[in-house]
Symmetry: C2
Subunit: 210 residues, 2 copies
């Protein structure tokens, strides 16, 4: 088994935090996406989209999606559960993980990739031959991030974590979206006190340094 | 339990096909998104983003994401399995379902919502107060759809279904993306023979009429 990782990229960090919460260690290889290593022939032969994280299992199975990689480890290392145990818990965690992706990560990614000079011809992840930036999409991403903060703050007024009283993968996804937003010099404002409370709690977990 | 549905919208159809494959019947209520019913106060009180499908469980739990709704029914009605049984199967299905969403559904949705006059101020789903269309994003969506077809055709040259030899939720997601693309008068070309073969097989299943 090998996990292709890059310490400075947000999606690989989602997996590293997940593994830290599980106490699982996996052999890793760095793919420096700031130097274009993900678009070299050796790595494209593993993952044609050139994205990290990528997990290769011993039987040759290749997983290219962060949550699919996490699900593999949830199945093989069930404790502590980060995807839920009952039908309702599993559905609620899936629901909030997806909202954290669709409303949170996508908004931040749209804003970041269509703004920063380092992504000038890489407005979309997973496109080895390049995609131009779209300025209007960056603006839309910023507006959608504020909307997400409103929804998230209302949710966290009633629950300790995104999916209820127990930490889950949904918290990892949402946390990483705000960590990523720092690259836009964006800080969550005091207008969202429940999000600020929750961010402090997640940042205090040992896994957050992964 | 109640499932808020709309027969003409793509994401509710993903859930209806999933339920048809399971042989499960659920009480449904139509929310006519072409007449703006999803943005009426009664429905926004259930789901503040105004999206369908939405499932409300008997205990009041609200699920607003198609795959979270499907996962609930997978847990409560395990046969036939559409999310996989072993750790590797579950991870591979998650992987291809996500690729079908990220590379397929998102590409089609970007193209459709930023092109059709009926979405003039609704360039993004789940935004009750409106989002302008971005013409460049529609073009990017069309380009990304071709890229996805290349990846999918290569995959389906080696497997019967997206995630292997067994039909799964990943096939439903990918099928619906191409069904939705028909609204752009888009048909999958013979340049992708494996996709054409697979599309015919999915369309022949009784569930496809759901």
């Amino acid at each position: 088994m090998k996990l292709y990782d890059f310490t400075l990229a947000p999606n690989p960090r989602r997996v590293r935090i997940f593994l830290a919460e599980k106490g699982v260690e996996v052999p890793m290889e760095q793919v420096n996406t700031r130097e274009g290593a993900q678009f070299q022939p050796e790595f494209l032969a593993v993952n044609a989209r050139g994205t990290v994280p990528t997990l290769v299992l011993d039987d040759g199975t290749v997983l290219t999606e962060s949550v699919a990689i996490c699900r593999y480890f949830e199945e093989t290392h069930p404790e502590p559960s980060l995807f839920g145990r009952t039908a309702t818990q599993r559905a609620v965690i899936e629901n909030w993980n997806r909202r954290a992706e669709i409303e949170g990560m996508t908004s931040v990614s749209d804003a970041l990739r269509n703004t920063l000079p380092m992504f000038a011809e890489r407005g979309l992840v997973g496109a080895p031959d390049g995609v131009p930036q779209i300025a209007a999409l960056a603006e839309r991403g910023k507006a959608m991030l504020e909307r997400w903060l409103g929804h998230l703050d209302a949710r966290l007024a009633t629950t300790r974590f995104l999916a209820g009283e127990t930490f889950s993968i949904a918290d990892i996804t949402a946390y990483i979206s705000f960590e990523t937003a720092k690259r836009l010099e964006y800080e969550v404002s005091a207008n969202y006190p429940n999000v600020v409370r929750w961010l402090g709690e997640i940042a205090a977990r040992p896994s957050s340094s992964a």
